[in-house]
Amino acid sequence: MILYDYILSPDCYKIRLLAALTGQRLTLQAVDYHPGGEHRSAAFRMLNPAGTIPVLQDGALILTESAAILTYVAAMSGPDWLGEDSPQMRGQVAQWLAFAHRLSASIGKARSHDMLQQPADINACRRAGVACLQELESALTEQRLMGFGYLAGARPTLADIACFPHAMLAPDGGISTDPYPAIRLWTRSLRALPGFIEMPGIHRLHELKPEPIGTAGQD
């Protein structure tokens, strides 16, 4: 299974994260997204005409939407993550996989504007990003009132993996995450999952890491 990947991309990271959580082996093929713009090259567009990452290739199968890639990886190596306990849960997982596109189009865009100087209507992206976080916060609050800690129920599913990276990285796009206690608690639980992996800007819960030992050069 080949993942066309960029280390700083939240949409690529969510695939790497799910693969790590389910034990699915991935062959990572780095795409020079920035500064090279390799995803817009003629060669890359033979693979994905849309010119976006992530792209997953497994034999003859090519998937170019992160929601589809997550679904495929879960079906191959971690079917529990599909969240098929009940029709309700299936509906909720589909709901949040679709919602994640709004996160990419708002928070994701604000972040590539601020970090990679890509053009965007930054105020509109930030406003839409705040609206997304408010919806996520309210949904997680309602889940807590029902005694559930995750977006689609009592256990984590693709719904959580799809929305988690952008919720964590919003400050990179100038969108504060300080006002959202339910999001803070939810991201904490996800960061403590066995097999969790990091990306730049998203860390495992530190209290689960070993005590740091002094290294020369730090001050």
């Binding site: 309210s138 609050t141 009132l145 608690l185 904490r188 819960l205 530190h206 209290e207 002094g214 001050d219």
Partner: protein, 208 residues
Amino acid sequence: MTAAWTPVALARDLPRLGVMPVCVDGIDVALWRSASGRLAAWADRCPHRGMRLSHGFVRGEALSCIYHGWSYGASGSCLRIPAHPDLEPPEAIRVPVHRATENNGVIWVALGDQDNTPPALTGLVPLRSVTVQARAEVIRSASGLAIGADGIARGHLASIAVAVLMQALPEGATVLHVLAEPADPAALIAASRAVEALRRAAESKGAA
């Protein structure tokens, strides 16, 4: 000098080993809870290079800075500098500590000395904390909540009796800490949606 208590969070939103940023009278505060459950409210600024301590992490009874890992114990004094593990940190390296207390499921902070206790809010359950881009007066008039003798706004949201504590933020924003009478989840969810509706109403009123 005595200062007023400011409500800063619902206690259930700060678990053990948790740390979060809050704002009291325009001052940034790192609010955290140790492994044994001890609550602390510190200046949100690392004495080393000024990093926000609320970005840090709790290990046992200490708070560590995310930047270079300096850690600080209960009194705010520096316990350990990872780059110099054999050094006993000088007594002068200390984070300013504020008063924090927990009362009926609400966490309160005061910047100065404080002899009295925050108002009692018995018989209520925590609903949620929501940040609203509007001042307290605008929110009050949008909500129809009445201020009681104890200074607390009370009323009904989606037919559920609520008490709303207001925490002023800089630039005219306000955090609402909402407590509700005990009710089944469906009724509490309706009240939570009514808080969102109140936020939208106050924000459009404030913008008008």
